[in-house]
């Protein structure tokens, strides 16, 4: 495969042609904030709005999950404008997230916590109003619970369930602020044909899908459990 050379944060790297900047950076040990990126997905979801980077010669910040690498490209992952957008997106997510880390099964393996320390954002950010959902928690499955109120709508569980395993129990419903990951007709997951493969729990970056026995999912799972690409 053809490779191209580019610079990310001053580090000269080579990446396969057509690869997105986000993966090129992650493969070379440069972390770019992200929640919704799935390496194996046919097209980037581009929903979390965290992975902004600045590219020389470009007008404004671009999402690195959608931007293919190019020869001679100079990328800055820590530019002030891209960081400002990432912080705003993270604060928006936190303002609609019930922050109760001490009682959350995901405490200390939660990607929101990791992003907060990386971007210098307080978990209890006060810039925006607290707007949380109050939806019922689904504990119908024997080994895991689903708390839609904690969900950040990254789509990883939906993709894994549908595209990777072809089950399709989970999907999105409603629009705007009411958008939610749910099952067909909002039935409990256990009654929706779930095969309890636990893959959705493994990929959930936050405390929305957690094991009942306190087991932790794979931490830092931006790669979404890809057999070929664990770095």
């Amino acid at each position: 495969m053809k490779t191209v050379s580019l610079t990310i944060d001053g580090k000269a790297i080579k990446a396969p042609e057509g690869q997105k900047v986000l993966w090129a950076a992650l493969d070379n040990g440069i972390y770019i904030p992200n929640l919704c990126a799935i390496r194996k997905a046919s097209e980037p979801y581009a929903g979390c709005r965290l992975c902004f980077v600045e590219i020389e010669g470009r007008n404004g910040p671009v999402t690195s999950c959608t931007e293919p690498v190019a020869e001679g490209m100079v990328v800055n992952t820590q530019g002030p404008r891209s960081r400002r957008l990432a912080r705003t997106a993270l604060e928006l997510l936190l303002a609609s997230h019930p922050v109760d880390c001490a009682h959350c099964a995901k405490n200390r393996s939660c990607e929101l916590q990791k992003l907060c320390s990386l971007l210098g954002v307080k978990l209890n950010t006060r810039r925006f109003r607290k707007l949380v959902h109050n939806l019922p928690i689904d504990s119908s499955c024997p080994n895991f619970t689903y708390n839609p109120n904690k969900c950040v709508l990254c789509s990883r569980c939906v993709w894994t369930c549908r595209e990777r395993y072809g089950v399709g129990v989970l999907g999105f419903a409603h629009r705007g602020f009411d958008r939610v990951v749910t099952t067909f007709e909002d039935k409990p997951i256990a009654e929706s044909g779930c095969r309890v493969c636990d893959e959705c729990i493994e990929v959930c970056p936050v405390g929305a899908l957690v094991f009942k026995d306190g087991r932790k999912g794979t931490p830092g799972c931006a790669e979404v459990k890809s057999k070929t690409a664990t770095s």
Binding site: Y45, P61, L85, L92, F128, R129, F172, G176, F177, R179
Partner: protein, 638 residues
């Protein structure tokens, strides 16, 4: 696609046209009077169908042979229902504000009698000595009709009338041209997409044409969703063939075999008339296989969208057409290279496509001679809100807002003061009085923070609160947000909650800064056009009407006396008439009582601020007023 048998195309079309022309002449120059009732959606909601019924009923009592025709919207929506009467030997007259009773009188007095009834007339369509010409109205000084040329003048359900007016000639010409030459012609004309962003049409077509692959698609975007915009609906309802002809030329140019009209299901009449038009075009061999005997084949299917605003965005529209949820995705790839089913697809707005036939017919230079340096041609606006002449208008690019609002629109009703104009719907901005003399085109509007959008123009007067306007549009966008990306889903929701606080008097000054920062971030950081443009109403109102925001936050005062929580109703004791108790009886919550002097007093604790007392108070007293902030109401005595 090679050009074969040009003469065949020309002669096939000539036959079609001859037939259409002879039918038109028979109708228009015949001895029968013609009554045209403007019955598009706007006319129908004003009662055009009842008028039509009355006309037919009245005629059935007489012996006269009269041609009754249903036509589309003339653009004069303020005067609906409209009736146009052409009686041989007399000028053609447009009558406005027609009720069934007036319609019966017109039939009796003018059709059966000789009284031309000038009291109902808006004007005549040609110069004459009886009735002033409609073109003497001040609006016609500024208006120039290209797209609106035929609307309201022809029966949209009769293809021959469109052909007789020069329709499908451009198609016949185009089929004898090389596609590259058509692109060149459109490029020279300077046509830019009328969907809002103003992207070069020729460039879009060229990218699609040169994209590899045999299968290509053409989509007409008729998913008009802006509050207060109805241009696309009017064109589809009143002159559907102009859109179909534009689609045919575009399809021939880019090499598409299949096309769709993506129209919202809330436009049933537009869907119905488009279906009839498609059927008739196919019947004449203008659509379908081997069009006009050429090797070019193309078919069009109407597709009814379910009314999601976001589906006006190209990528979401395609997803919806593919049967998926209407969610946008990242561009590039642009649809012109990878669109419907992954094939190169051109998506053009209704108006963009309708401009194509006149450009091919009259030449690129003619089109390029109209408008400003970078925005050619005309712009169609839907005038709504606080303006006398609501309706459609078409003016050359570069016309000023003042000319549109005051000359074409007739100014602000009830002698109120102009305050702002909201252009481009939820994606556009609110422009203040200082922008009135700016010539408008795609670029000048962008500079001041608004955008052409689809062309909705809502006029606001001194009674409109700008904070409330921003809140209204944001409520719309956050509800219509698909929810896929964080910035739009949560950002618009947060902005809305701040604006709600302002209008309720709960805002803080620091919110204003946060709101501005957030609006900037949502503008840059959103996934699609809906999110990126959604802060425009907020940013422009904050830019031009900052004082109003400050009044809401610092003084808890709504200067326009509009925000429900920041006003109170008060009865001026010196104006209140002792013998009148009109307000007492109408008050829905029994909050008004008489005091010892028989002066009426509102119990502020009971009052729900419905405003009924203000309407009920007779004009000669005018004793009920609104006060803001509510604590300005003097304490009750006795």
């Amino acid at each position: 696609m090679t050009v074969i048998a040009s003469q065949d195309i020309a002669s096939t079309f000539q036959n079609i046209r001859d037939h259409a022309l002879s039918r038109w002449q028979e109708l228009w120059d015949g001895s029968k009077p013609i009554i045209m009732v403007s019955a598009a959606t706007c006319g129908r909601s004003a009662g055009a169908l009842e008028v039509l019924e009355a006309v037919k009923d009245e005629l059935s009592r007489g012996q006269q042979d009269v041609q009754v025709m249903e036509v589309g919207c003339m653009g004069h929506c303020y005067a609906e229902p409209l009736v146009i009467i052409k009686k041989p030997g007399n000028p053609t007259v447009v009558y406005g504000y027609i009720t069934p009773e007036k319609a019966r009188r017109l039939v009796k007095d003018y059709i059966q009698g000789e009284d031309i009834s000038p009291e109902f007339a808006l004007g005549a369509l040609e110069e004459n000595e009886l009735i002033p010409s409609i073109y003497d109205l001040p609006r016609f000084k500024h208006e120039k009709y290209i797209l609106l040329e035929n609307i309201g003048r022809i029966d949209p359900e009769d293809i021959d009338q469109y052909i007789a007016k020069g329709g499908y000639e451009a198609l016949a010409n185009a089929l004898q041209m090389q596609p590259e030459d058509i692109i060149e012609e459109v490029r020279k004309s300077g046509l830019r997409g009328r969907g809002g962003a103003g992207f070069s049409t020729a460039q879009k077509w060229e990218v699609c044409r040169s994209s590899p692959g045999k299968i290509k698609y053409l989509i007409c975007n008729a998913d008009e969703g802006d509050p207060g915009a109805f241009m696309d609906r009017a064109i589809l309802e009143s002159d559907p063939h102009s859109v179909i002809e534009g689609m045919l030329i575009a399809a021939y140019t880019i090499g598409a075999r299949h096309g769709y009209i993506y129209v919202r299901a809330e436009y049933p009449l537009a869907v119905h008339r488009a279906e009839i038009a498609l059927e008739q075009a196919e019947g004449l061999g203008l659509l379908g296989k081997n069009i006009l005997g050429s090797s070019f084949s193309f078919d069009i299917k109407p597709f009814q969208g379910s009314g999601a605003f976001v589906c006006g965005e190209e990528t979401a529209l395609i997803a919806s057409l593919e049967g998926k949820p209407g969610l946008p995705h990242h561009r590039p790839p642009f649809p012109a290279t990878s669109g419907l089913n992954g094939k190169p697809t051109v998506i053009n707005n209704v108006k963009t496509l309708a401009y194509v036939p006149p450009i091919i017919r009259n030449g690129a230079d003619w089109f390029a001679s109209i408008g400003t340096e970078k925005s050619k041609g005309t712009a169609v606006f839907a005038l709504a809100g606080k303006v006398v002449n609501t309706g459609l208008t078409e003016v050359p690019m570069g016309t000023t807002l003042r000319q549109i609002i005051f000359d074409v629109g007739g100014g602000i009703p009830k002698g109120r003061r102009f305050k702002a104009v909201q252009i481009g719907g939820p994606s556009g901005g609110c422009l203040p009085e200082s922008a009135l003399d700016m010539p408008i085109d795609f670029d000048s509007l962008k500079e001041v923070g608004a955008m052409m959008g689809s062309g909705g123009m809502v006029v606001l007067d001194e009674d409109d609160c700008m904070v409330e306007v921003a809140r209204y549009f944001l409520e719309f966008t956050q509800r219509e947000s698909c929810g896929k990306c964080t910035m739009c889903r949560l950002g618009t929701r947060q902005m809305l909650s701040m604006l709600e606080d302002f209008t309720c008097g709960r805002g803080q000054m620091q919110d204003l800064e946060t709101l501005k920062e957030l609006a900037e971030d949502v503008r840059i950081g959103s996934l699609c056009g809906l999110g990126r443009t959604s802060p425009n109403p907020v940013l422009t109102t904050m830019r031009y009407f900052r004082d109003e925001y400050k009044a809401h936050i610092e003084e808890k005062r709504c200067p326009a006396l509009m925000c429900h929580d920041l006003i109170a109703y008060y009865i001026l004791p010196e104006k209140c008439e002792r013998s009148c108790d009109a307000c007492v009886g109408t008050c829905t919550v029994e909050a008004i009582s008489s005091n010892k002097q028989r002066v009426k007093v509102i119990d502020q604790a009971k009052c729900v601020k419905c405003g009924t007392c203000l309407t009920a108070c007779p004009l000669q007293y005018n004793a009920v007023i609104k006060l803001s902030p509510p604590d300005k109401v003097p304490a009750a005595k006795g």
